[in-house]
Amino acid sequence: MSRESLINAALLLGLAAVPLYAWATDEPFTITLATRVAILALAGVGLNIALGLGGLVSLGHAAFFGIGGYAMGILASHAQSYTPLMEAPFLIEGTKSMPVIWITAVVASALAALLIGVLSLRTSGVYFIMITLAFGQMFYFFAISWPAYGGEDGLSIYIRNDFPGLNTLDPIQFFGICFALLVLALWLNARLARSPFGLALNAARQNAQRVETVGLSPFRLRLAAFVISGAITGLAGALFADLNRFVSPTMFSWQMSGEIMVFIILGGVGRLYGPVAGAALFITLEHFLGGLSEFWHIYLGALLLGVVLFARGGVIGLLAGRKVAHG
């Protein structure tokens, strides 16, 4: 086992142990914090597939996070008001079922990623950053100006959605769901990175010409990565809305996109567990520094600066050392 996989295992165990300890000592707020970490890490895992593996610096991933959030909000709000989503040409009713909501969130954000990807992957570098940012902002302003679902005020869902066989209102059980999905996404990411697709995508990031001269299309590789990436971030959005029992346009904001990227940079770009380390550090800082001063972002900024200047591999890089080529 390499040092990095030991650190990864420790991170995952830690993330599971903290809420279990809090559960034993009856501190539900700590469980909620750990749940936030798991969900935001999941969003980060999504972005990391585009950013770390594909080299696609997307500043618009809040679009998928928000779509996931609104997929939950819209379906659940119709279920709680007993009004159908639409009646013609066929009937669609709201639902409180998490699995149905997740599938909707994943499909909707994958479709959005396909559309955004087809258009924005024709550009690269700073133009790609700008065009993804622009798409994110379009969704943000659309959500603000859509009165049917709360507009600027957002949507409140009074009772957390259901998962068969579990009591989702119990914080530790809801944490379990989020943690399981995070582990699943990490597993998928690891498999993806080693797969033929991952090999080609990784090569396309380093040298697109190389990939073309063996007869593969860098554009299609990147598009597939972008869609998978968006779908995972969308799933995280649905969970985030369920955690807060509230969804608002801020989920679509560019600050949200930036935050997801900060998790990755803090944890280590392209590192499988980078988003987990980053999200954990971010939430810990937010909790402790936020308690000291409402200007805690200043300290976060200083830390980010330090990471970018002195520890390019992020927390994982600092602890595990140089990245080794897998295989």
Binding site: R191, S195, A200, Q206, G215
Partner: protein, 249 residues
Amino acid sequence: MADPVLATHGITKSFGAVQASRDISLSLQPGEIHAVIGPNGAGKSTLIAQICGGLAPDAGRVEFLGQDVTPLPTRKRAAMGLARTFQISALAMEDTVLQNVTLGALGARGGPLGLLRNALKDQDLHDKAMTALDRVGLAGQASTVTAELSHGQRRQLEVAVALTLSPRAFVMDEPMAGMGTEGSHRMTAFLGELRDEAPILLVEHDMDAVFALADRLSVLVYGEIIATGTVDEIRNNPQVRAAYLGETA
């Protein structure tokens, strides 16, 4: 003469006022090594880019395996079996040598790429990749990170990746560049055998290698082919001597 594997018919390309390719027609016959030589700035790289895709000619067309491939992108030409090696190594530098060659085998196989299988544990890909590495003498370096290879080894790796494509023709841009004398000799011997597998369009500065290998030579000066012929014909061509060989020899 047999039908050429690869041919250009009057391709012309200008960048502003500079004519980088003027009405270039050349052909690559089965089993031959056709070398293109010319001084720096003669338009060799522009010519290669038009043959392999990536740069569209203003006029003229490129034929490969009897098909007009002028409108096809690089990857379609590659998939047809046009294998290219680069003057400045185009490799995934962070990846291992094996990963780079596996990528070639993957591209050659075509069809959808797997999402969940382990690429390096795919026996078929692995065998193809190792065979190619073995042929260029890099099998011992399979798990080395590409960035750590010497310049000459990177050239060998380029050729190995090209070999995995089951090519119908090679287009090689200065495969000897940056190699030591010994490496250059080994590569020369290797390319000599390779011609039976697929013909090679060879752009090269190393005149010893060119004279040793080429069945035919074309001399490119200021975007124009001023002569095509056998090594002896070119050596004795007064125009070529004045324009090119005289300057370097």
